[in-house]
Amino acid sequence: MGGQTGFGAVPAGDDGSAGFGADWEAHVYALAAVLRQRGLFNSDELRDAIERLPPAEYLGTSYWARWLAAIETLVAEKGLA
């Protein structure tokens, strides 16, 4: 929520890039990329699943934690787990 009033600035590294704050965040990104390439979901389905998170969870979790929660939602809904 960086940039939104009351949420502070968008976090960025020394070089100004957002990047990954931890290895697990890169793993989440890679997992989403693989599942997308294999046709399990498209980018809009992922965005939709992020937006369907309960509002308190959406506001209370980090960007990549939201991606992970959305992947879990889609995997469950599509009967893959």
């Binding site: 498209n42 980018s43 809009d44 389905e45 965005r47 939709d48 937006e51």
Partner: protein, 92 residues
């Protein structure tokens, strides 16, 4: 990327983003909904995100639409250009 002969708007047309808050995924940002802008480019056909979020691939023409920042945010001398799908727009 292809361009459908029946694209509704042309460069220079004034359009207004449909207001409202759909109960599904959309790529029409809240800050432009209800505001009028000018078509500055036709970008070809792309899958409508509102449909593809539900697993339905429905291509339609996408446009670059330029808004005055002052109209959107109450100040600023600059413009803001947003890519918007045809079904988000009405003629202004």
């Amino acid at each position: 990327m292809s361009e459908r002969a029946g694209a509704r708007y042309a460069v220079g047309d004034r359009v207004r983003v449909r207001p409202g808050d759909p109960d599904h995924h959309t790529r029409a940002p809240r800050y432009v909904r209800g505001h009028a802008g000018e078509i500055v480019a036709r970008l070809g056909e792309w899958a409508l995100p509102d449909a593809s979020a539900a697993g339905i691939i429905a291509p339609e023409t996408c446009y670059a639409v330029r808004f005055a920042a002052a109209d959107l945010f109450g100040g600023g001398e600059h413009t803001v250009t947003v890519d918007l799908w045809e079904s988000y727009l009405d003629r202004a």
